[in-house]
Amino acid sequence: MLCWSRNLYSFAHMEQKLKAILDTYLRSKGTLITLLQQTEAAFGYVPEEAVTWLSKMLDIPESRFFGIATFYSQFHLTPTGKNTITICCGAACHIKGGDKILEETKSALALNKDEETTKDLSFTVQSATCIGACSIAPVVILNDQVYGNMDPAGVVKLVKGYEKEGEYTGFEYD
């Protein structure tokens, strides 16, 4: 599982985790993408130190890693929040007000337009292109749970519910 007290990571701790990742990579004949995916999963983002370390161990230039990490939107180069809220902005969600939901979510978490993660690292807000659940548009995903037929008020309720409880307990269907 993800460890959220990343700021407390010592380099030794990070190295230990990276060794395990490198080991799986070498055994399963992975690619740089899978390597970065595992790094992202272990730390919640791709730390620069991790890339430096991996680059040295594998003798692959750092630029190759960053080239991939900046190409795909799934990779983050700065720490992400404990909870991830994804707003679908595909066509079907768009015409049903997906962009309004994105706006509302950001303002509920006091984020400005270009910010993704709250200062206390509790939330990361991101938009997705299409998640294939067009029939229940507009769609919001909180961590792994999909919520359909959302509206701005609903998403605020969702976010506030989390803020209050710390750990989420459920959502009322009405």
Partner: protein, 590 residues
């Protein structure tokens, strides 16, 4: 159907993405709890079973629940966890279905117009059970193919069926396989791309995809198959992984399949969020762990593909058709559809229609039948404006062409593509220019940047379209756009750049007036582009209820109780809150 279904009680709860999102998991667990609590097991001889089933399409009325008692099935719609208790008490214990929660006529008409050959088992069988799949003749086609047919026979049958790729350009699947099989290389690969629209298939009937991939692998003599899927589609990944493990345990994949001299294994390749990965060569770059930038063709993937070896790529829907073609024959398959486009196509019908959800239609069905038959008509009886088919790079089909049949030829003719299966319905309140700008914004962001026509073209397109929506466009801009999109169509490296102008070109063809009023009159007829509209209150209609004044976030509305209100255009931020709040339709958008 197996024996447990013929006797006793079976409860089937929809557990597709939509079903789960509407609380399917909770509904199922409450059913389980209440049934145990009520000791129904004892009363009905331990004959009560539960099934999680995949998506059955009618997502707008989720959670859908089937209750089958002694082979008599009824379906409930829009079930919430709190409603379960009454169903258990009145229906399962006392035998009287709760009539007001049953599905209505629209459920019947939604399904009766469709032709569910690929989606048929979704929503009926348990997607996590290989036994369920085998009970509907599953893996029988694969066994026949591997043990009784030679490779050319299989390919010939697929060619005869007329099956075309369900992903992008609609190339004939059998031809693709034929070219790949004829290559001299020893190592070949076969890849199944699971896109967003294929998710319900992967979640509802994953074994059909595995079986199709296995048959394809045998036909081209590949030893290795890949399933390319985005990591974030958790449920699809989980169900496919489970299906692969079950098939491996049964010996359907692995060494010496069905006792024949054929070894085949399937691996996952986890893709990431990138629209460009729908392009075959970009997808292969991504599997190889590089930036997903398309390669120059030729050589085509069937000649030099993954790791430089001949590779076949088809999408999950194409593969799901394969067991049916091998099992039921090419003639049966080609009897469905039109002269050139055979079989069916799965779409996610969405937008401003009454019944949204997953639909499977025979090729050639008219848009009228789709929107007004299956879709149950327009939401709120508004006027249909256009239907967008094929995702962001598909074309807009205007309401005037609603009687056109949906197949590859017709869509190519008007400058659209079948694409992977998105279908969005727009009504009179949607602005074509704004919608086109939205699609272009997306494509500009997703352009990989390798070739200038697409990288610079999409950027310039977006700038010009933005000017139009902001009322800053000049006459020449339309001509510039036309010339630019023509260049992009002919000179881009891959399909993304070549099809990016589709929404604009089709939009301009059929909605030129709307473009002109944005440019010439600086007006947005649909009332969407905020820079071009103004809000005002019709004094005769306004009752002075003060509701608009209360909801206005900018404080732009003034007026006394029971007297007509006024909007100060200088303060108004054009958010539309008053328009939505007004119960008397007194707010006008111009």
């Amino acid at each position: 159907m197996n024996t447990t279904e013929q006797r006793g009680v079976t409860i089937k709860v929809c557990m597709g993405t939509s079903g789960k999102a509407s609380g399917g998991e909770d509904v199922l667990s409450i059913f389980k709890k209440l049934i145990q609590l009520n000791g129904i097991e004892a009363q009905i001889d331990r004959r009560c079973g539960y099934k999680k089933v995949g998506c059955r399409g009618f997502c707008s009325k989720d959670v859908l629940v089937d209750v089958v008692i002694d082979n008599h099935k009824v379906t409930y719609q829009s079930i919430r966890p709190v409603m379960v208790e009454r169903i258990v008490k009145e229906h399962i214990l006392q035998g009287t279905p709760v009539s007001e929660w049953l599905t209505q006529d629209d459920y019947e008409s939604y399904h009766s117009k469709q032709c569910k050959i690929v989606l048929g088992p979704c929503g009926e069988i348990d997607p996590e059970s290989i036994e369920d799949y085998i009970s509907i003749q599953g893996y029988r086609a694969a066994k026949r193919a591997v043990t009784q047919m030679n490779r050319d026979e299989i390919i010939k049958r697929v060619i005869e069926s007329g099956l075309r790729g369900r992903g992008g350009s609609g190339f004939f699947t059998g031809r693709k396989w034929e070219i790949c099989k004829a290559r001299p290389e020893d190592t070949k690969y076969i890849i199944c791309n699971v896109g967003e629209v294929n998710r319900p298939l992967a979640e509802g009937n994953p074994h059909a995809i595995i079986e199709g991939l296995l048959i394809g692998g045998y036909a081209i003599n590949a030893a290795k198959g890949y399933i390319y899927i985005r990591e974030r589609y958790h449920l699809s990944v989980e169900r496919l992984r489970n299906a692969i493990n079950q098939a491996r345990a049964k010996g359907f994949i692995g060494p010496n399949i069905f006792g024949a001299d054929f070894c085949f294994d399937i691996d996952f390749s986890f893709g990431t969020e990138a629209f460009i990965c729908g392009e075959e060569t970009a997808l292969m770059e991504s599997i190889e762990g590089k930036r997903a930038m398309p390669r120059v063709r030729p050589p085509f993937p069937v000649q030099r593909g993954l790791w430089g070896m001949p590779t076949v790529i088809n999408n999950a829907e194409t593969f799901s058709n394969i067991p049916l073609i091998i099992g039921k024959g090419a003639k049966w398959f080609s009897s469905i559809g039109t002269q050139e486009s055979k079989g069916t196509k799965v779409f996610t019908l969405s937008g401003k229609v009454r019944n949204v959800g997953l639909v499977e239609i025979p090729m050639g069905m008219s848009f009228r039948d789709i929107v007004y038959g299956i879709g149950g008509g327009m939401e709120g009886d508004k006027a249909l404006k256009a239907v967008q088919v094929g995702g962001p790079s598909g074309g807009l089909i205007p309401a005037s062409m609603i009687d056109m049949g949906l197949d590859y030829e017709n869509l190519f003719k008007i400058g659209s593509i079948v694409g992977s299966g998105g279908m969005v319905v727009f009504n009179e309140d949607d602005c074509i220019v704004s919608v086109t700008k939205f699609f272009t914004e997306f494509l500009q962001r997703e352009s990989c940047g390798k070739c200038p026509p697409c990288r610079i073209g999409t950027k310039r397109m977006l700038e010009l379209l933005t000017k139009m929506t902001e009322g800053k466009a000049e006459y020449g801009d339309l001509a510039t756009l036309e010339r630019l999109t023509g260049l992009m169509k002919t000179s881009s490296l891959c399909g993304l750049g070549r099809s990016a102008p589709n929404p604009f070109i089709t939009g301009l063809n059929y909605f030129r007036d709307e473009y002109l009023s944005h440019i010439k009159e600086k007006k947005c007829p649909a009332g969407v582009c905020t820079a071009l509209i103004s809000f005002s209150i019709t004094e005769d209609i306004c009752k002075g209820c003060t509701l608009c004044k209360k909801v206005c976030p900018a404080g732009a509305i003034s007026g006394d109780v029971k007297k007509p209100h006024k909007i100060d255009a200088d303060i108004c931020i054009k958010c539309g809150a008053c328009y939505k709040a007004c119960k008397f339709k007194a707010i006008r958008i111009k």
